[in-house]
């Protein structure tokens, strides 16, 4: 029996799906020593992507699934935004707020 063209389409779609899996294949899973760093990195990246002003001057401490944000942000809105962004990061279950509102210690680069 001759295969139908829709089968080819199905295989092609499967191939595209596999390509995504292949190009995003994970490296060996990180051990516990660096798991906290990976989580802090995710939070930092999310803050950058969401355009939280002053994100670069924050200290981000991660421990298991708890993240602590420490530092000064320029406005109450940016502080609330930073906390909200951190809570939505995959792997974060709790966010400890040690943020203050005030002038950052150093200026943002232009």
């Amino acid at each position: 029996m001759r295969p139908q063209p829709w089968c080819a389409l199905g295989v092609a779609l499967f191939a595209v799906a596999c390509s995504n899996v292949l190009t995003r294949r994970p490296a060996p899973a990180s051990n516990e020593d660096v798991a906290a760093s990976v989580l802090a990195t995710r939070v930092n990246y999310a803050l950058m992507q969401e355009g939280v002003p002053g994100y670069a001057q924050l200290r981000i401490a991660a421990d298991a699934r708890t993240v602590t944000l420490e530092g000064a942000l320029p406005t109450p809105e940016s502080r609330a935004h930073a906390l909200e962004v951190a809570r939505t990061v995959e792997g974060v279950e709790a966010v400890v707020d040690r943020l203050t509102v005030g002038a950052p210690l150093v200026e943002e680069p232009r």
């Binding site: 292949l22 660096v34 802090a40 930092n44």
Partner: protein
């Protein structure tokens, strides 16, 4: 006549006191200073008027050995919780060291405009250092540089095959320059200027580094961290954000990046010592309008795809996740979107620059046959042009890489077999 004698006598006593008082103060405080300083110290003059404030002039820690550095400070202003001599002075509330110099073998190798110490409680102690200038090398200065040396020579971090990553730290006109040893290449000097940070002691042999800020290669660095050298193995942690690093400026200063480079890069790193020993951490890199086609590895990857890049080509966006784990640096989920290629991949390299292993799946952004080699001469071109999946493998070390192309059999072979059957 009598009142004249009294007035004269008072004047003489006052003049004597005015003359003798500083000498008296100096004689009283010099031994105390020695205790505080932790070693022999000389004092030019001292000023104290029954208050909690004490000002010392021309304080010097004399040279104790031929190779020992000597510290000179023009003026030290101290303030205690209570008045010294009259009471137990308690904690040192603030200290300002103005006009400091570090001498080594008679030469002023480093000057510091001002160092401020503030004590607001056991959890609120910090030191500000302002205006560092001079010429400091690792081998010439004391504990702090030793701390840095121990960090960069930690197991698993190797630069030039001699166990050194950081060969020299130089501070000139407020710019901190790190002389990095790159595997197989010439040392690279990266300048950080102006550099400012706040050091906050957290224990006898531990401190926090707050609000480190500097400019480097046209961008800005913000960092914080901690160092604890109380144990046998030093524990340290550093978090650094790099914003708007200018690749054109980096290309002009760094030998391994071509001068034709352009674009801007943001990055983040969370690195530190791990309990098991060695180095661990994670980070990310994010670039905009990045053009590094002339870079050796990039050039070989593009050529393997059968494409010749144009001068105006650039990756509109680059994103990569980084992880340092068990002696290797991993590049996870590398995504580079631009002309002429989109690249997706991942890989890793040993921390000493050896055993590089990268794999990229290329996709042509737009097919321009004028820029591709003829398909009949290069089967890869037909694969890339038709969208078939191939992987460009990069292997070797930072000193030299090999590149080759291989199909992705899991996907391509069943699809090709199926298409062959239905033809």
């Amino acid at each position: 006549m009598r009142w004249r004698r009294v007035a004269l006598g008072t004047l003489v006593v006052m003049a004597g006191l005015a003359f003798a008082w500083p000498l008296l103060v100096r004689a009283v405080f010099a031994p105390l200073l020695e205790d505080e300083w932790g070693g022999a110290a000389t004092l030019g003059a001292a000023r104290w008027l029954f208050s909690d404030r004490l000002v010392l002039h021309d304080v010097t820690a004399p040279q104790q050995g031929a190779d020992a550095p000597m510290i000179e400070v023009d003026r030290i202003e101290l303030r205690f919780e209570r008045t010294p001599l009259l009471h137990d002075p308690g904690k040192l509330v603030s200290a300002d060291f103005l006009g400091g110099r570090l001498r080594w073998q008679g030469r002023a190798v480093c000057t510091v405009e001002r160092v401020e110490y503030r004590y607001g409680g056991e959890d609120d102690k910090h030191v500000h250092v302002h205006g560092i200038a001079g010429d400091v090398t690792l081998e010439h200065v004391g504990d702090w540089i030793d701390v840095i040396t121990r960090i960069v020579e930690a197991p698993g971090v190797k630069g030039d095959g001699q166990g050194e990553l950081l060969r020299e730290v130089t501070v000139v006109d407020g710019a901190l320059a790190l002389n990095l040893a790159i595997a197989g290449g010439e040392p690279q000097r990266i300048a950080f200027a102006p550099l400012a940070c706040r050091l906050r002691p957290t224990a006898d042999q531990a401190l926090a580094i707050d609000a480190l800020a500097a400019t480097v290669l046209g961008g800005a660095v913000n960092a914080n961290g901690s160092v604890d050298w109380s144990g046998e193995a030093m524990q340290w942690h550093l978090q650094a954000n790099l914003q708007q690093l200018d690749l054109a400026e980096a290309g002009a200063r760094l030998a391994w990046l071509p001068t034709s480079s352009s674009g801007h890069v943001d990055a983040f790193a969370d690195l530190g010592s791990v309990p098991a020993g060695g180095l661990g951490g994670a980070g990310w890199v994010h670039g905009r309008q990045v053009a590094v086609w002339e870079q050796a590895v990039a050039k070989r990857v593009v050529r393997e795809a059968g494409v010749e890049p144009d001068r105006d080509d650039a990756f509109e966006q680059i994103r990569c996740e980084l992880r340092v784990d068990r002696g290797r640096l991993y590049f996870d989920n590398v995504t580079a979107l631009g002309e002429p290629l989109n690249l997706f991949g991942n890989g890793s390299i040993r921390l000493d620059g050896e055993d590089l292993e990268l794999g990229f799946v290329p996709r042509l952004r737009s097919v321009d046959l004028d820029r591709t080699r003829p398909a009949e001469n290069d089967p890869t071109v037909s694969d890339v042009v038709t969208g078939a999946l191939v992987e460009i493998k990069v292997e070797g070390s930072l000193d030299g890489v090999e590149t080759f192309v291989q199909p992705l059999p899991v996907v391509t072979q069943p699809l090709r077999a199926f298409l062959d059957r239905i033809r």
